[in-house]
Subunit: 306 residues, 2 copies
């Protein structure tokens, strides 16, 4: 395993809020180009209600197109319940992402259930996924604050984490759904999470609503987190939160990692290509920086050969 | 003195690259509104060649308009040489900013002199400013990298710092003119700078070209730096560098500081107002986040009363 893991979630969390539906062939082309960068995992979509999130209606088809791809990158899918899991298993998904919100209001708006009810259901689905031979990442959404509720007590987040750990899940993600996290909070929560069970792999998922996305990634890195979720061009946002901003931008994050001497094997050019194509597709200036400015040339010689 | 010092440089470093000249009355209105936020210092302009930088042609006039303002905020002016200093002293400037570039190529393009020649001249002007009763901040531009030269050796930066310290200047700024700084580099350089002379007040000035502005501010803060330069709406860039990006955005920085429990006395609303007016004036989406998203409401109650 590489020292740092990059999970590119743009095709799911980047696109789901967009009104203009990206054709399946375009998504597949973007996924292939993203794969050429050498990122470790690519989320192809979510198995949600096709009419509720039309942008995700072709997730099954997309997975079918990558069914015979090699072991790297790992293509992941988000599921909200057993029904989604069944669809995912049917099209050969080998890595599922599932989560609950630490905010009761966000949980109810998103799932119609309390956090406790939602977590019971998610743990059931996650165990079923494992029984079917798939890997699972379980997550806590709104782990750093909520647009509806404001402060989310850390004890609530840690209670959810403990239930995941007790159920034996080896990968736990804390997601900053609305972009509220601060670096001190990030360091504190991930430090405690690792104390709960040092064998758990901690993943982080930040949004850049208030411009703190990369700062929070760096705080997570300093706290020992090595698994990062990000979206090309900084696309995204959650349609179920009141105020939201795009994901941390993948190519900007990789550029930062390069500057820190990390993951020089990940090529920026394929990521920049997809971000540019997304900008052209949506006909607007997207939040990512590097796809517009280019990387610092003298700092990225190591990746030129790719 | 407050624990953290904010020097708002948007009217100079934010505007100087803009082609549409902001009328003097508008600049004055923006300066008055910025002052209402409670930021400590506001840079009104630079005393440069009026034809070379037309946007700065009214700096003398602008200072004259604030000549009878109270002691806070402090209005500062940038000067490049003795001629600029004379103009500044003539219109009552009480705080001057002067600097040299650590990159020979940048220094030659900017001033026609080597770094050593430029520093000798700047130290002379700074001593003259002090003799005239004004405060002076001396700076090292391109302290973290250069668009022309790439890596700028830290020894070069520290040599310039030592000459400033030997000449007895109590405030030294390191400026990341092109936005190349990384957080580890920021921590290292400011730590060494404070070891050279712990009595020197370290200022930092970052640009956000590659999305690392706030991350580098936070790194500086962790290294003990308490004096930050930033520009409303994240405007700016240096017209003399090859690739450049806007300054760290003042209202985004203040929002981050609020989230960290620092400077709750600075009101965001006046800063947001000016950023919005600048966006309307330049008729484009500016880099700042908070002026578009608004602050996190539940996190900024402390500043509501202002």
């Amino acid at each position: 395993m590489p020292d740092i893991v990059i999970h590119e979630v743009g095709l799911r969390d980047g696109l789901q809020i967009e009104r203009d539906t990206v054709p399946t062939a375009t998504k597949a082309a973007w996924a292939r180009r993203l794969a050429e960068s050498g990122v470790d995992m690519i989320q192809l979509g979510s198995f949600v209600h096709r009419e509720k999130v039309p942008q995700m209606a072709d997730t099954d088809e997309l997975f079918a197109a990558f069914r015979d791809a090699g072991p790297r990158p790992v293509f992941t899918g988000l599921v909200l319940n057993e029904k989604g899991l069944d669809r995912g298993l049917a099209c050969g998904v080998r890595y599922f992402c599932m989560g609950v919100s630490a905010s009761e209001t966000h949980s109810r708006k998103n799932t119609g259930m309390t956090t406790a009810e939602a977590q019971e259901r998610i743990i059931g689905a996650a165990l079923a996924a494992r029984a079917a031979g798939a890997a699972v990442q379980v997550s806590v959404q709104s782990a750093f604050g909520c647009s509806y509720e404001g402060i989310v007590p850390e004890s609530r987040v840690l209670d959810i984490v403990r239930r995941y750990v007790d159920a034996g899940f080896p990968i736990v993600s804390l997601a900053d759904t609305a972009g509220h996290a601060t670096p001190d909070q990030v360091e504190r929560l991930f430090t405690v999470l690792q104390e709960i069970d040092p064998s758990v792999e901690c993943a982080c998922h930040f949004h850049d609503t208030y411009g703190l996305g990369l700062l929070n990634c760096h705080a997570a890195l300093r706290a020992g987190v090595t698994y990062f979720e990000a979206a090309f061009a900084g696309l995204g946002g959650c349609p179920f939160t009141a105020v939201t901003g795009g994901n941390v931008c993948t190519e900007d994050l990789v550029h930062l990692l390069h500057r820190l001497g990390l993951r020089p094997d990940i090529a920026l050019d394929p990521l920049i290509d997809v971000a540019r194509e997304a900008g052209a597709f949506f006909k607007r200036d997207l939040p990512g920086r590097i796809y517009k400015t280019g990387a610092i040339k003298w700092a990225t010689e190591a990746t030129k050969a790719t």
